[in-house]
């Protein structure tokens, strides 16, 4: 997949040297799907553990609603960003914990539990937003969404420095920490073991139920983080529309990245490449002025091709 990404990247660079190889545009390649990216890292853990989470898109709306309501409540305090971030993370983690607890202790299939979450979380968000948008009344919150680190030496057409948004940095940081967590800690090894053979893991003295609960909680927290950045960027939250299809984009990125939907094996950097590949394809389709109605079909085809390619490179049994 890395090869596919590099090839497409070179193709774009040669075909559209001006518009594509532009500093702003390259930054966008990283930042455009940072929200989905943050979620996809958590989704990688869930899928490696042998599960799935369909509720993340709706949870973005719910966490976003909680975030903006908190921002408006805490408008007076000087700590508005910190308080809002804490609220977003807590809301996401609690929802993820609930998903995980029902899955692990209630022994209900993850697909079913998170399908209920898909319906339920969105509904609660709509109730909080009275069916529509919740606007933030704090300007600094919205400004934060456009803030970030200026990249030294890079300027855009207007001569202003190109900024790497905080959300993009968070995505990269989450990916690094995720890779560390999966490969260098006991928890990560347990996630792989539970996904590969839950019974064998249990017989090895691993408390498989808590491993699952923490995995869904981790994903929930990351959804909260994504929702925090997303609502800062908008300085509002559209409870009916925000996060729609994020679950599909996140799962697609994980699968394209080579993580097995059957569980037991996967890689974080693959998911990062998956996110970037999906973004790159979206950009190319825009540069080529492909009818937006066709873009879904192209994405679908990309997912299928990626999985088929990975199948044929696997050794037989």
């Amino acid at each position: 997949m890395l090869v596919a990404f590099v090839l497409l990247f070179l193709m774009a660079a040669i075909r559209f040297p001006d518009s594509f190889l532009h500093a702003d545009n390259l930054r966008n390649l990283l930042s455009q799907n940072a929200y989905v990216g943050i979620i996809a890292i958590g989704m990688t853990f869930v899928i490696i553990s042998g599960g799935i989470d369909l509720s993340v898109g709706s949870l973005v709306a719910l966490c976003g609603a909680v975030t903006v309501l908190t921002v408006n409540k805490a408008a007076e305090s000087g700590m508005v960003l910190m308080v809002a971030l804490a609220a977003a993370l807590a809301a996401g983690a609690v929802a993820g914990f609930a998903n995980g607890a029902v899955i692990a202790f209630g022994r209900v299939a993850p697909f079913v539990v998170t399908l209920a979450g898909l319906a339920g979380f969105r509904s609660i968000a709509l109730v909080l937003g009275q069916g529509g948008e919740i606007r933030s009344t704090v300007r600094s919150f919205g400004d934060f969404g456009y803030d970030g680190l200026p990249i030294p030496g890079l300027t855009n057409i207007g001569g202003k420095p190109v900024i790497l948004y905080w959300s993009t940095l968070a995505f990269l940081l989450v990916a690094l920490l995720g890779g560390f967590l999966l490969n260098k800690t006991r928890y990560g090894r347990y996630v792989i073991a539970v996904g590969a053979n839950e019974k064998a893991a249990r017989y090895s003295g691993i408390d498989t139920r808590w491993v699952k609960v923490w995995t869904y909680t981790l994903l929930g927290g990351l959804v909260g983080l994504a929702a925090f950045f997303n609502s800062a960027r908008m300085n509002s939250v559209g409870t009916g529309s925000v996060g729609l299809y994020y679950e599909l984009d996140a799962i697609a990125a994980v699968v394209i990245g080579g993580t097995s939907l059957a569980g037991g094996k996967g890689r974080i950097w693959g998911t990062v490449v998956g996110v970037l590949l999906l973004t790159l394809i979206g950009m190319l389709l825009n540069l080529w002025r492909v009818d937006p109605n066709w873009q879904g079909a192209v994405r679908g085809a990309v997912i299928l091709i990626a999985v088929l390619l990975q199948r044929t490179t696997k050794p037989e049994n």
Binding site: T185, D207, N317
Partner: protein, 488 residues
């Protein structure tokens, strides 16, 4: 076929006559399975060919082999538990009438086949409800349904109790008398000697000997020697003086729902205690309950004089228990993980502070590799690719890693070749010499008698007797296990 770095089969030529039972024996990795996979159409030979009735044939696939009358009964049975017997027998070749399944004909034909194999169940029994022996009969019926002329059986008795195995031998003889050729693979040499008209011995991918026991009697020792390539000195290590220390484990009236009723026993440090009995006597379930992997209904457990409650395997491990499962592939190991990851899995806590140290994991695994003589090329490769004996050693290493005081070994030598068996026996003795206490669950009587200091015999979940020293004979154990009062 050559596998990475190992040539599984090297220029082997064999002839199978119509209507013979032909035994194929050899250590794990000798090439038996590869040979059988080629005949069953699962694998292509890199050179050489298969002649059937004198004509060279390309088998190509399982379906191709079946069309040529070759059927294989796998070690892991390939049946769909959710379907009934008739549906399984006709799976993939359903009889239809105008596009609709003709259940009546399929049931009638299955009924006839089941009578032929003397199955104690009907065509509409759900396969999931049958015992392993029953499933095996379904597999055989399935082979007969396509008029198989050659039947390949891979370790068919590994999961059968003695009476079930006897019934299977009867069936094999009836099939032979009808002109069916049976290729019989087994690690149990006495039954191979009894059953087979000819025996071919494979070693390191080569045919090294063949015997015709009907013409010139062979004994198991000779057969084992030719498999291993060196004379087999005594299989079992010497037993130690009967230990007499304070018991490390006392189990009082332990019951497991549906499997064990009020079983009591004690275990001393340095002792090897056998759990003998037929398959299904509740030995595995009792061991799993002691290990916390299934609920204990009643009864008490004392470890080192202290009363303990064990609700899950992690608690059992804290009390110094370890359980090496009989189901290596399903429970004992995680096949997709590497040797290193499997070895450290139960003791991972020791390798993180708090970051996992892969160097220390590697070192520990390399230590076990040399200590247990594990033959694995790449310790980072999945354990899937190792032979049965080496997988068993990895599984053992994983539990020895936890430094247990009480080691429960469930069928430790199932699917393990003669050479590795001998090493495992020696290893178990060296562990108990260092004060570890072992429980060995085994269906192989010579193993119980040769290895254990004492054995309790279970029948239908109850401890029906204990044997040791002079009283530990195959006859005594069988009598207890089968519930026969006097000698037959």
């Amino acid at each position: 076929m050559t596998f990475p770095a190992v040539q599984a089969l090297d220029d082997v030529s064999l002839t199978f006559e119509a209507g013979e039972v032909h035994g194929v024996v050899g250590e794990n990795g000798a090439g038996k399975s590869t040979l059988m996979r080629i005949l069953a159409g699962l694998q292509f030979p890199t050179s050489g060919e298969v002649h059937l009735n004198g004509r060279p044939e390309r088998l190509g696939s399982v379906r191709g082999a079946l069309e040529h009358g070759i059927a294989m009964i796998h070690q892991e049975l390939n049946l769909v538990d959710e379907l009934d017997v008739a549906e399984n027998v006709f799976l993939g070749r359903e009889i239809t009438r105008r596009g609709v399944l003709d259940r009546r004909s399929m049931i009638a034909e299955t009924q006839a086949l089941l009578e032929e194999v003397k199955a104690p169940f009907g065509p509409t029994a759900r396969v999931g409800s049958l015992s392993i022996a029953g499933k095996q009969l379904v597999e055989i019926a399935k082979a007969l349904a396509v008029d198989a002329a050659i039947l390949i059986m891979d370790e068919p008795t590994a999961v059968l109790s003695a009476p079930e195995a006897e019934a299977l031998f009867g069936l094999i003889q009836r099939l032979r008398d009808k002109g069916v050729t049976v290729l019989y693979i087994s690690h149990r040499l006495p039954e191979v000697l009894d059953l087979c008209d000819r025996i071919s011995v494979l070693r390191d991918g080569k045919l090294v000997a063949s015997f015709e026991p009907r013409n010139e009697p062979v004994d198991a020792q000779t057969l084992a020697s030719s498999m291993v390539g060196r004379p087999m000195s005594d299989m079992f290590p010497a037993k130690s003086v009967p230990p007499s220390g304070e018991p490390i484990l006392m189990v009082d009236r332990a019951s497991v729902d549906g499997f064990a009723e009020e079983v009591s026993f004690i275990l001393r440090p340095g002792e090897v205690l056998g759990f003998a009995g037929l398959v299904g006597a509740g030995r595995t379930e009792l061991a799993e309950a002691l290990f916390g992997a299934r609920p204990l209904r009643s009864g008490s457990i004392e470890i080192a004089g202290e009363s303990v409650t064990i609700r899950d395997p992690s608690q059992a491990m804290r009390h110094g228990l370890a359980y090496v499962s009989e189901d290596r592939k399903g429970i004992g190991l995680i096949l997709s993980l590497s040797c290193v990851q499997n070895v450290t899995l139960a003791n991972l806590r020791a390798y993180c502070r708090p970051v996992l140290s892969s160097t220390r994991e590697q070192e520990a695994t390399a230590r076990w590799k040399s200590e247990l003589d594990i033959r694995a090329g790449d310790l980072d490769a999945p354990v899937l690719y190792l032979s049965g004996g080496n997988q068993q050693k990895i599984s053992l290493a994983k539990w020895l890693e936890t430094d247990p005081k009480i080691l429960i070994l469930d069928e430790p030598t199932r699917g393990v070749d003669v050479g590795a068996k001998r090493e495992l026996y020696a290893l178990i003795r060296s562990l108990t010499a260092r004060g570890m206490a072992c429980i060995v669950i085994s269906s192989e009587l010579p193993e119980i008698i040769g290895l254990c200091d004492r054995a309790i015999v279970l029948r239908e979940g109850r401890a029906v007797g204990e044997v040791s020293g002079e009283t530990m004979t195959e006859e005594a154990i069988m009598r207890l296990a089968a519930g026969v009062e006097a000698a037959a």
